[in-house]
């Protein structure tokens, strides 16, 4: 076992460092949603044949780093760094207005550090407890996905509208799959990308329409105030336990453990709920602001780690919103990793890595992310935020993502693949905006289409 661990160590180390550096930088750019960035790059790493340990550390170090540096635009500019940062905007804005945005930043990042370190061992233990049910879960996966999808839809902002909209949405995906199959094209990532980038695609269509364009006219540039930053420690690597007080550390640890166990729910919802639970127990309003931020950012880390790792280790099936979205290439990246919908057979990291490897490389990935993203965001937050907001225009970000749509769509399925990305994005974007049928529900809808629908039609 030790030999196997050591043999893959160099590649695990190297890919973890690459993941941490790349996603520390991406985290600074607001609007860089996790699924649109983590999923395609992880897919690429899988398909060029990086060994399993490297794929795993790349993904995990990337996700953990991104959820640290995403605190920089959130705290200093008042723009959410990504989807998971949105539940922290309100508290961060108040601290910004009180003139202490650096406190918001440090509480968030320190909470993230502590939660990420705790989440890996907790997740591994919990996955081991669930593993005996793996065979049963793989057997009943089509129905479990249906139940999970209905639950996630009900708890989304759309409530019953989202539950009912699952039907038509699944129908569209089944129809698109039959259409592409008729031309010998089988698509996976194109759907993920379409769903994740739907809000951009639907917005681009909207501004083409004259009536909506008139509504979206702005008469001056957006105004942001960049808050000052004050360094209050000596050296390069601040101690997270000194940034948080003992109650904050306690709550961060408690919610990190709790949110590691609730791995089937939407990560954004868990972040909101855990924050509310803790906030209601803190008496003073200032203490409540800072504690909520530490806890919430901690949950963004722990819930991501748990939602990716528990389904991967215990079942090999993407049975959570994160596993179905940003972590999808760890489960399903044909031809290398596959999930067979008919038999429930899986061939992915689930089979390729053992328990010890999940634990040791998982901790390695988190430590690499901490060594790179944590001191970087603590020391250079302000300069990084100033650079991004002054030099990287929104047009440039949109241009990059449109390039990504073209490359991934054409790569996977030629012109048909591209049309599927645009169709899914347009429909999903509108459903999300108008009904609150959000991205997590859409991912589950995709899995109903590929797992549940074939199983049900086989019964008929």
């Amino acid at each position: 076992m030790m030999d196997a661990l050591l043999a893959q160590l160099p590649v695990a180390l190297g890919m973890g460092i690459i993941g941490a550096v790349v996603f520390s930088a991406i985290g600074l750019i607001s609007g860089s949603d996790e699924t649109t960035t983590i999923a395609p790059l992880t897919l690429l790493v899988v398909l060029i044949g990086v060994p399993p340990a490297g794929v795993y550390t790349f993904f995990l170090a990337g996700a953990v780093s991104k959820h640290m540096t995403h605190a920089v635009p959130t705290a200093l500019l008042g723009i959410p760094g990504d989807t998971m940062a949105t539940p922290m905007m309100r508290e961060a804005n108040y601290l910004r207005q009180l003139g202490v945005p650096h406190i918001a930043l440090r509480k968030m990042i320190s909470g993230g550090v502590i939660a990420a370190l705790i989440a890996v061992p907790v997740t591994v233990v919990f996955a081991l407890l669930l593993a005996p049910f793996g065979g049963f879960v793989q057997h009943t996966a089509p129905y479990l996905f249906l139940i999970a999808a209905l639950a996630i839809a009900y708890f989304s902002p759309g409530r019953w509208a989202a539950v009912l909209a699952l039907g038509p949405f699944v129908l569209i995906i089944v129809a698109l799959q039959n259409l592409t199959a008729a031309h010998g094209v089988k698509l996976g990532v194109s759907y993920f990308l379409g769903i994740a980038i739907g809000p951009l695609i639907s917005d681009l269509f909207l501004v083409l329409s004259p009536a909506e364009r008139a509504r979206r006219k702005r008469d001056r540039p957006a105004r942001f105030s960049l808050a000052p930053d004050v360094k209050r420690w000596s050296g390069y690597f601040p101690n997270p336990l000194k940034v948080l007080d003992s109650r904050q550390t306690g709550w961060t640890i408690g919610t990190a453990v709790a949110s590691s166990l609730t791995f089937v729910f939407s990560p954004v919802a868990m972040t909101v709920i855990m924050g509310e639970v803790v906030a209601s127990r803190i008496r003073h309003v200032y203490h409540r602001l800072t504690t909520t931020l530490a806890v919430r950012n901690g949950v963004t880390e722990s819930t991501y780690i748990a939602e990716a790792l528990i389904p991967l280790m215990a079942f090999g099936l993407p049975l959570s919103p994160v596993a179905a979205g940003p972590a999808a290439p760890l489960f399903n990246a044909p031809p290398r990793f596959t999930v067979d919908s008919a038999s429930g057979q899986v061939n992915n990291l689930h089979n390729l890595l053992g328990t010890w490897e999940f634990l040791v490389y998982g901790l390695l990935a988190v430590v690499l992310a901490l060594l790179i993203a944590y001191p970087f965001s603590m020391n250079y937050a302000r300069r990084a935020a100033a650079f991004v907001s002054r030099n990287i225009s929104h047009e440039a970000i949109i241009g990059t993502f449109v390039g990504l749509i073209l490359v991934i769509g054409l790569w996977e399925g030629g012109l048909l693949g591209l049309l599927v990305v645009v169709t899914v994005g347009l429909v999903g974007g509108f459903l999300s905006r108008l009904l609150g049928f959000n991205i997590g529900v859409q991912f589950m809808g995709f899995y109903i289409a590929v797992l549940t629908v074939p199983a049900l039609t086989a019964l008929l």
Binding site: G31, L44, D219, S225, R283, H284, A396, T400, G403, W411
Partner: protein, 159 residues
């Protein structure tokens, strides 16, 4: 390229210039696709397995996306006014009013654990909280006036 205020639009949660947006779509699309197609053609000559050649071509396509984005960033400046150091400490009481109205608070600064209290002191906020709590003693915290809320109140709600 200079932007014009009459072409500003809100797209995907930020402000863009319509013409610059079209430019970015063309540049971003052309550079990424160009990189992908060229790489696929060139790699096809050296790599026997066409599937692998196509995967590596995707890598160059993604690099092309970033290069295209960098060109757009160079050509089109951000439509953001970034103002520095404008924390308006004069309005602290207004911010606190919005904060207390939004969250409510049980107990005052005096009841805080010493660690939190000294954190407030280091941030030079302790005094402001004490003043606010003195002026709005005894469950009066919710009764804030429109003037108190002011700008800070609206921003708090909007976020």
């Amino acid at each position: 390229m200079t932007m014009r205020n009459d072409r500003l639009l809100e797209v995907w949660n930020d402000t863009v210039d319509g013409h610059h947006l079209i430019g970015s779509l063309i540049i971003g699309g052309a550079v990424s696709l160009g990189a992908f197609q060229t790489a696929e053609w060139l790699l096809g000559m050296f790599i026997d397995d066409p599937r692998m050649a196509r995967t590596y071509a995707m890598l160059f396509g993604i690099i092309g996306c970033v290069v295209g984005g960098a060109i757009c960033a160079y050509l089109f400046r951000p439509k953001r006014e970034v103002v520095e150091d404008t924390v308006d400490t004069e309005n602290l009481q207004g911010v606190l009013a919005a904060l207390y109205a939004d969250y409510g608070s049980r107990g005052g600064v005096e009841d805080l654990p010493e660690a939190v209290r000294s954190e407030l002191r280091e941030l030079e906020l302790e005094e402001a909280f004490l003043v606010y709590e003195r002026d709005h003693a005894q469950g009066d915290a919710v009764a804030v006036t429109e003037r108190d809320l002011g700008h800070a109140g609206r921003e708090g709600v909007q976020s």
